[in-house]
């Protein structure tokens, strides 16, 4: 029965992929997104049933390669992530029905619909894959389909760069996964994911490789740079899927490995937490300075992935220290946070897509006043902002609460050095949370409140209804997921001491209602409308408002060591001796630390080396024969040496 649901979902997604490729029309696109919607409903049933009953479905192995079958498997972990997919997809599908129509040509619209389905399918199959080869295959398809989606507007220079960068990073990720899996395969002699009862030293290498591989895909610092490039380039619905689901698929892969290891070591946990905390902190700090709404959200994804990995790291540390209940708590926390992030990040990206669509720009400084012109979108955006700022009683808070609980009790570890480490990690975690709140006050406040800051923004209109229903689904889930978090956790089988947020939410609501009614009933005089006080200036103008850059200025000052600036000169001359100046510019800009010290130098080195190598192929027969001659000599000497 369960299997049928899954096959149905897969079939729906496949037909959703194929259909728009066959015939270009609006109806096929609609049908395609409808199919993905259907598939998500089926998936919901499938994953829910597994999580509830704990029964694992049995899929027959599919013959694939000699000596290697293609198997599907869904345990509770997989079911959890399938649930995550099923939760994000409906909103995105409904949203896309309208959103995809803004693409430039019919061909691209259909391609986008098909690829979106393929992308969802690939992510689903990665989670379902029963062995490493299947996992890698769909992992690659997932990367590829998302790459093509990122490149939907391929002619723009910026997108091209983003696409290339994404491609390279995703390849690096796959390469390390390849390596990690290959070593595991050699160790166990099978491609299946199974318990790894080996000593930690044997697993150290695969652990490192897989950590890097999944870390790149998840966007951990310092492998995170592709995110802020790829997200602005991709259509918003795809960003929602990428940020909401794809990053979590990487988390899933990492968990799948980690949970099968029976004896992890302490340094694993320390490494994971370090990377996680740094990601969280850098993610949010860079986001604060960002002026591009989608890039800001991308940085915020880095932050949240950092939080998830911090939880995973805590899990490892507690496992090593033998604190099983805390280990469970932190694992539950990071899984739950992964789930929540999927919801509110997809919600935010969808809203951002609507806003960008309505205003025609991605610059936060150009928005403003949308709460009046786009009330529904703004309300949804508000829900997303509150959730991501981890405010009660939303789901974002529930996830972080679990992690906080784990952290607060973590000082039970006996190792004093570890305690110091945990204190540092906790404070960085807290700082991240508060900065995120500041970030989303800025984002929501500057985007939606006050007066429109540009003409584009003042002309904005509310988006069509599909683009409202779409994000409304994750928005509702965000609130419900927060309110019913305790119930959800116990449904998922985690018996954890956890405050009842439903009670809290009810209390809040009741008191609010009571207050409101009491005060309203006593109201004597109606409210009056009057100009904002502007220190005597008669009319307020948009340029007087606090700007996005101004808002983050205090934090920029406080973290000025991180936001270092760089002065860049560019000059052109008429002559080679550089004495006759033609034109040039000087630019003071933010130092992109990771980019300029970590990415560009090796890229430059590879580039210049490749130039050098290319020169070897100089088209001259003389040189070619010389190479061959040298090679012959070397081979003769080598053979002589061997003999």
């Amino acid at each position: 029965m369960l299997e049928v649901l899954m096959y149905g979902a897969i079939a729906a997604l496949i037909s959703g992929t194929v259909l728009p490729l066959l015939y270009r029309s609006k109806n096929t696109r609609k049908a395609s997104f409808g199919l993905s919607l259907i598939s998500s409903v089926l998936l919901l049933g499938f994953a829910g049933a597994i999580l509830y009953t704990g029964k694992e479905p049995v899929f027959p192995a599919i013959r694939y390669l000699p000596g290697l079958d293609f198997t599907l498997a869904a345990d509770r972990l997989a079911a959890g992530f399938i649930l995550l997919i099923a939760a994000v997809v409906p909103g995105v599908s409904i949203y896309s029905i309208e959103y995809v129509e803004h693409a430039k040509s019919e061909a691209r619209k259909n391609l986008q619909a098909a690829l979106t389905n393929l992308f969802i399918l690939a992510m689903l199959m990665v989670v379902l894959a029963g062995n490493m080869v299947g996992f890698l295959i769909f992992w690659e398809i997932m990367s590829l389909s998302s790459l093509l989606l990122v490149l939907h507007d391929y002619s723009s220079e910026e997108n091209k760069k983003a696409g290339f960068f994404y491609f390279v990073m995703t390849n690096i990720s796959t390469a390390f996964l390849f390596l990690g899996f290959i070593i595991l395969f050699r160790l166990t002699g099978s491609a299946e994911f199974g318990p790894l009862e080996y000593s930690a030293s044997e697993l150290a290498l695969p652990f490192l490789f897989l950590f890097i591989g999944f870390g790149v895909k998840a966007g951990l610092v310092p492998f995170h740079k592709w995110l802020p490039y790829a997200h602005p380039a991709a259509p918003s619905s795809v960003s929602a899927l990428m940020s909401g689901v794809m990053l979590k698929v990487a988390v899933y892969g990492f968990l799948r490995f980690l949970l099968s290891v029976s004896t992890p070591e302490l340094w694993w946990g320390v490494l994971i937490i370090t990377a996680g905390s740094l990601s969280a902190l850098f993610g949010v700090i860079y986001a604060l300075k960002e002026n591009d709404i989608k890039r800001l959200l991308a940085y915020s994804s880095i932050e949240n992935i950092g939080i998830i990995f911090t939880g995973i790291g805590l899990y490892v540390i507690f496992r090593v220290e033998g604190l099983e209940s805390l280990a469970l708590l932190s694992l539950a926390g990071s899984c739950f946070h992964a789930f929540n992030h999927a919801l509110f990040k997809s919600l935010l990206f969808l809203c951002a897509g609507s806003i960008v669509h309505a205003t025609g720009t991605r610059k936060i400084e150009a928005f403003g006043g949308l709460v009046k012109s786009m009330p529904a979108t703004s309300a949804l955006f508000m829900v997303g902002s509150v959730s991501i700022a981890a405010l009660p009683p939303t789901n974002g808070f529930a996830g972080e609460l679990l992690l906080y609980q784990a952290f607060f009790q973590s000082f039970a570890v006996t190792n004093p050095l570890l305690t110091v480490f945990l204190i540092i990690a906790l404070s960085s975690f807290a700082l991240t949370g508060a900065l995120a709140a500041a970030l989303f006050v800025k984002l929501f406040g500057i985007t939606c409140l006050a007066m429109p800051r540009s003409e584009k923004s003042s002309l904005a209109k509310e988006v069509p209804k599909h683009m409202l229903i779409g994000p409304a689904i994750p928005a509702a889930l965000c609130i419900l997921g927060g309110l019913f978090s305790k119930q959800l956790l116990s449904l998922a089988g985690w018996e954890i001491e956890f405050p009842d947020l439903l009670l809290l939410g009810l209390l809040l609501g009741l008191i609010y209602a009571a207050l409101f009614l009491i005060i309203r009933s006593k109201e004597t005089s109606p409210a009056r409308i009057s100009e904002t006080w502007g220190c005597g200036i008669p009319t307020l103008a948009p340029y007087m408002e606090y700007s996005s850059a101004g808002f983050s200025e205090p934090l920029v000052m406080i973290f000025k060591n991180i936001y270092r600036t760089k002065i860049v000169h560019r000059a052109e001359y008429f002559d080679r001796q550089e004495s006759l100046f033609r034109n040039g510019n000087v630019e003071i800009r933010l130092l992109r630390f990771f980019e300029e010290y970590l990415y560009i130098p090796p890229a430059r080195a590879i580039e210049s080396f490749s130039k050098y190598v290319s020169k070897l192929q100089n088209g001259k027969l003389d040189s070619y024969v010389l190479y061959a001659f040298l090679a012959v000599i070397v081979l003769i000497i080598a053979t002589g040496g061997f003999v």
């Binding site: 609460l401 006050a450 007066m451 809040l508 006080w533």
Partner: protein, 313 residues
């Protein structure tokens, strides 16, 4: 949920709501005396609130529902918060109320919407206040969390109710490290309530104000609600500090007499604390905004030290 809790749920918020403005006034009075003035009457605060309640609200045409929504939300949040902090007697815990992290984040919720409210009218003052408030809150957050973590670690619970059940009945702090935590808590109290040297609640100068700037556009009963919420916040934080360092008199049983005594004792202790705050404020000058993180680090240091000492001991 049991009787004791229901009783607590009724009494504690009511007590807090009624007593909170008094201490705003008390601190003001202490400061006035320190400056050689007599200052307004203690109950002036209540008169002010009543007057504001009766006044109409004035809204800017640029503002939106955020501005109308925020005051109610803030007060209701703080009222929920008051369920978390047992002031005069500790009930049987129920429904996870009292969770210290939830408490922290309820404060964050209040701050979040206040800041949005500041941005809503579109005036530069509001924006400035929001920006500063959120920035400083971000910087203080690690300190707060570590302090509360230290508190939780020393008192071996995540729930304020359970913590205070532990401290109740003792005269002196049950662990010497609690003194260290208390110093941190005191600093947090100063910061969170927007007092000198962080913020000056008494001025309306754009260079200095943080909290006042955010609510500059609020008028009438909305302003009253916000003021009340602010006072409540201060009172609750004071309550945590008092019940940590000087829990004497905190009752754990439902007994009208005992509760009355304990309430009276609490009012006295809070009065003492308010005087200390007032004196502390008078003794210090406003710090430059960007010097503040150094101030917070002090609190951070004490809390981290607490955890380390507890671990080593």
């Amino acid at each position: 949920m049991n009787i004791s809790f229901l009783l607590f749920a009724l009494l504690n918020p009511l007590f807090a709501l009624l007593a909170a403005p008094l201490y705003m006034a008390l601190i003001r009075k202490v400061k006035a005396y320190a400056q050689g003035r007599r200052g307004p009457k203690l109950f002036q605060v209540y008169y002010d609130l009543r007057k504001l309640m009766q006044k109409e609200a004035v809204y800017s045409p640029t503002s939106s529902w955020i501005m109308r929504f925020t005051p109610y939300l803030n007060l209701s949040t703080l009222l929920v918060c008051s369920l978390f902090v047992p002031l005069v007697f500790v009930p049987e815990p129920a429904g996870g109320l009292g969770n210290i992290i939830v408490f922290l984040y309820l404060l964050a919720l209040e701050r979040f919407f206040t800041a949005l409210g500041g941005l809503d009218a579109g005036s530069a003052f509001g924006g400035m206040g929001s920006s500063r408030s959120m920035s400083l809150a971000a910087v203080i957050e690690p300190t707060m969390v570590i302090s509360f973590a230290a508190l939780a670690f020393v008192l071996k619970s995540l729930n304020l109710h359970q913590m205070f059940a532990l401290t109740a009945g003792t005269v002196l702090p049950i662990s010497p490290t609690l003194v260290l935590v208390s110093i941190s808590l005191f600093i947090i109290l100063i910061v969170e309530t927007g007092r000198l040297p962080v913020d000056n609640p008494a001025t309306h100068l754009e260079l200095t104000m943080i909290n006042e700037a955010m609510i500059l556009e609020q008028t009438g009963k909305n302003l009253a609600l916000l003021e009340l919420a602010h006072a409540l916040k201060q009172f609750l934080l004071m309550g945590i500090l008092i019940n940590t360092i000087l829990p004497v008199g905190l009752s754990t049983e439902i007994d009208a007499g005992k509760i009355a005594v304990s309430a009276l004792l609490f009012l006295l202790k809070a009065g003492l604390l308010a005087i200390i705050i007032g004196l502390f404020e008078s003794a210090l000058a406003k710090m430059r905004l960007f010097r503040l993180p150094a101030f917070y680090v002090m609190a951070f240091f004490f809390s981290a030290l607490t955890i380390l000492i507890e671990v080593f001991a």
